[in-house]
Symmetry: C2
Subunit: 172 residues, 2 copies
DNA sequence: CTTTTTAATCAGGTCCCCCTGACTAAAATT
DNA sequence: AATTTTAGTCAGGGGGACCTGATTAAAAAG
């Protein structure tokens, strides 16, 4: 049975980390007011970008299924991304009902820099701490995957598979 | 100079942590479909709640200034919170232009449980790991505070003060 | 060669975050 | 007393994440 006090401390720091990181992001975005430069996280348009950068050239339907979205929502997000020149739409030649979505160069770059960037604050850690941090996060992630599978056994492992796939490139 | 490989590993795990945590939250919310039960993070209405739980009885103007919002946005969020019975509005007796915003009991509870809950996934860590995690996060937070102060020297230390104040209760 | 299924689209809606502009009521100044 | 500043309000708008319902075009099946 882990020490409750220690858990509480860690939890507090984690919350703090979330808050401070959020405000840091906010300030960073306030400064270089690059017009369209938005966060794009793991929702909506961002989700689509992520999925494509892991598996380009999907149809809208496939995207929708994979991301647990309705086709209409998917269409909306895709259209918004097209307007921003991050993806392209083209009719499939083999099945002309389908619309194939592909990342543009800009889209790929965006998706990559969105995630595949070592945050500066990691410079504050020594090698030993980095190792500790990595191993701790590995444990936490495993625990979360468990939680997800327990809550939604229907697609057990699917989430983990998706995330792992997506992260694979990034580690090479 | 820290090992780049190790940094990259840690960064990857951190990103993964973010993603998995997000989907875990999503699923958790999907399950108990308690109607009004929304996330309420560090934006909009959530921000207001946080600010109040740290310093109750502020005027709308003070809230707006403190949170870097326009008074109109602030009014909007406050009104929404009033509808949810999380805060109350009352005219100040000393200056009848001012509207004082106060947390209701429900509001305080909500603000607290919003943050002050030890996430289950921390159970996956041993005492030693918890200590390591805490000390690493402390370092990361410090680094982020630095980043914020550098980028926005105007209000140097203000963010940290606010966050620290807010977290104080939670640690006792 | 008709049904039926499938991939998309349009229309319209809900709720969230956040802003500008115009206007009122109450203090503070002059 | 007249003016200006201050705290709020209303109206309206832009974007974002999602959804349901109705309809069309193309492929698959009967």
């Amino acid at each position: 049975m882990p020490n409750l006090e220690k858990q509480k401390n860690a939890a507090g720091k984690l919350i703090e980390f979330g808050m401070v990181r959020h405000t840091a992001d906010e300030i960073a975005h306030r400064n270089h007011t690059d017009k369209g430069e938005r966060p794009l996280r793991f929702q909506g348009q961002g989700k689509i970008l992520l999925a494509l950068s892991q598996d380009d050239g999907l149809s809208q339907k496939e995207l929708a299924t994979r991301l647990n979205l309705t086709v209409q929502s998917t269409a909306e997000f895709v259209n918004k991304l097209v307007k921003k020149d991050l993806v392209t739409k083209e009719k499939s030649t083999t099945d002309r009902r389908k619309t194939i979505i592909r990342l543009t160069d800009l889209g790929r770059t965006t998706a990559d820099t969105e995630t595949a960037k070592v945050p500066e604050f990691l410079n504050a850690l020594t090698d030993t701490e980095l190792d500790q941090f990595t191993s701790i996060l590995t444990k936490l992630n495993a625990s979360l995957y468990d939680e997800i599978d327990t809550a939604d056994a229907s697609q057990s492992g699917k989430v983990q598979q998706a995330v792992t796939d997506w992260l694979r490139d990034w580690f090479l």
